[in-house]
Every structure is written in C-alpha cells, then in structure tokens.
Assembly symmetry: C2
Homo-oligomer: 210 residues x 2
C-alpha cells in the first residue's frame, strides 16, 4: 500500500507517519523509486503500537524508540524480556533514588534486591516518594497489596507466553501492561466508591439535596 | 515566617512560591506591610501538597487548583468527597468516550452506571482504550482484577475516615491515592518478575552467559 493508505488505515496523518519514519519508530517501506515506497501490514501494526505507547502509555518518543529497538532485537530469554518491558515502562522523569529504609522494606517482602531488579527499584522509589509526601504505607497494608497484585500478575504471566516468539511475547507484555494499568487503577476507584457508599452512605443526612 | 523561610522549609524557590500565590494554589500570608507578609505551618503543608500533586500525581496547575478549591470548600458528605477525589485524579487529556460494550461490561461487574459514577466512566474508558489498542480483557481476568482491587480498596476506605473533618478526609484520600497508585503498579511488576522467573527460569539455556 502507499503511504496515503497507511494513513487511512491507521488514522495517523502523513506528516506524522513521515516523522515516525525519520525518528526510526517505523521501519522503511519497500522502495519502488526514489520518491515512492510501499508498506504492508507490519507497518499498520507498528503504527498502532506506537500510537498506543504514546496515547495510552504516555511514553516519550525516546522511550518508544527503546521499545521498538527491543522488538527488533529481542533478548534471547523469556525472563529477560520482562526486564526490557519494565525498563521501557519505568516512570519518567526518573524519581529520586530510594531511601535505605525503602530498599530494606522491598527485600523484606521477598522481592529481589534493588541492585538486581528494576521492578524492585521502582517499588522502593514509589515507597520512598510516598513517604516523602507524608504517606507511610504500613506493613500490613503492603502485604495485602502484594497479595492482590500477585493475583493480577498471575493473569499477566500466562503459560502460553513460553511458546510464542520472543518479539511477540515482548509486544504482548508491553502492550498488555500499558493498556491495563489504567484498568486496574479505575477498578481501585470503583471499589473505593462501593465501599465508601457502604460505610458512609451515598446520601448522608447532612447532604441536603442529593 | 518570611517567604525565604517558607522556601527553605519546603525546598521550593521563592519565584515558584510567588507563582503559586498568583495562581491561587497557595493562600496569601498575613500582610505586615505593603511588601511583606508572614506565613505559617498551614502554608508549609499546602506547598508540600502542591508539590506532591505535581511531582508524583503529575497533575496540571489547573487540576491542582481544583483540588485546592475542594479542600477549601469541602463537600458535606464523606461519600461526595470521593467524587471530588476521582474528579481531580481523572486521566488527562480526557480519553475518548467509552464504547457501549465497555459501558455494559462495567454494569455487568455490578458497578454503578457510567451516567452516575465517574469511577465507572473511567473504568469503561480504560476498557475501551485497551480494546482499541487490540487488547480485550477477558471476563474471567476482569473478575480476578476486580477482586484484587477490592482488597486494595478495603485498605483505602478506612473506617476512621468517618470521624475526621471533611477537608482532612479529602486530603487524605487524594494524597493517598496519588502516592500509592505507583506503589501498586510497581508491585504488579515485582510479581510479574517473580512469576516469570518461576515459569520461564531466570537463566534459560539459550541465554548464554547470565
């Protein structure tokens, strides 16, 4: 297909597609002449991935390029793939280094040390940032959350990932995490609302009109 | 205290503090003369809240002003407070309206309709965005996640919220949610890593050196 059809099929304007080509987010089409190239379904799929990472994942162009590079040169093991995913989806701008206390709390949860795991580092940083904002997550609460997120991760790390090609497993893991983090946070709010209505009532006497 | 001491105590520069004053994010100090005002602990606390909302919550100045207005004029009921929190923490820019299918799925989970709950709307939007990105969350998975986030919300909507002043409950709910969403997402990644190591091994034979 020509670039105009690629634009129609993805809803992304031609200038933006040309920008993706220049920035290396989209692989070149097959050249037909000096000014003409043709594109195929792999380009449609790539453009959709880039839009998802930008629109939903709010990744920077730089970060999207890291993901694309990783997809083109996937690491050999299934487990290393996840490190690439966590690297691409790390918070930006980089948070402050975690406090020693937070690093110790992460170890106490049974997670790997921050020197060997980016996920552990992110957790220690999130705990440090919360504490700096005056919010210390109690140990009992943290363990409830750990169990809850373990149940979520059970659905993320599906057995079938072991039998698909590394690049597919990587795309699967990145897209899945980017697209479903907002679903989890929205479910938290829905549950807060239900529990709040249950505990405090949806129409307090002092409400006046509701 | 003078503005210079407020700056020292919060780590926020004087020009930024003046910007917060102009934008209405920080209440005025007590005027001592035409060019001099004094500040107290309520200003220190407010500046810290504003920094948390901006740095960790990534809220826009406009959104921070909504939170601050709500704190100064808290809604009368505990349950309405949560609506204000969810309003302030809604995703930005506003996502596409949810599909009818997503709206129906949220109802099927037992949540209120999207016409009466912002949390339900956010969930329907997140499900729609995931589906648009090629990621349909299966019903069985969604129910696992719903149970997991219900367990998290049990720790969020503490009984003691019923007995504190509305403005304090509001600040508590906003700061808690902003600061702990990243903790939950990091816990998801830590759990993914543990399960991935368990299922696929942290050192596959094809890894070569590890």
């Amino acid at each position: 297909m020509r670039i105009s059809e690629l634009s129609d099929r993805t809803g992304v304007t031609i200038p933006t597609l040309k920008y993706y080509l220049r920035e290396g987010l989209l692989h070149a089409g097959e050249a037909q002449s000096a000014t003409r190239a043709v594109y195929d379904d792999s380009h449609v799929e790539r453009v959709r991935l880039v839009r998802t990472l930008i629109d939903v994942g709010r990744l920077s162009i730089e970060r999207v390029r890291e993901v694309v590079d990783a997809l083109e040169h996937p690491p050999p093991s299934r487990h290393q793939l996840l490190g690439v995913v966590h690297e691409a989806l790390r918070p930006h701008p980089a948070p402050e280094p975690p406090t020693t206390e937070a690093v110790d709390r992460v170890r106490a949860l049974g997670a790997p040390g921050c020197d060997e795991s980016l996920a552990s580092t992110q957790l220690a940083q999130a705990l440090s940032a919360a504490a700096a904002g005056g919010w210390v997550v109690e140990d009992a609460t943290l363990r409830v959350w750990q169990r809850a997120m373990h149940a979520v991760a059970e659905t993320d790390v599906a057995e079938e990932l072991g039998s698909i090609a590394p690049a597919d497993a990587l795309r699967h893991a990145i897209v899945g995490t980017v697209l479903t983090d907002p679903v989890l946070l929205a479910l938290r709010r829905v549950a807060q609302e239900a529990l709040s209505a249950e505990r405090f009532g949806s129409a307090d006497p002092e409400d006046g009109v509701t």
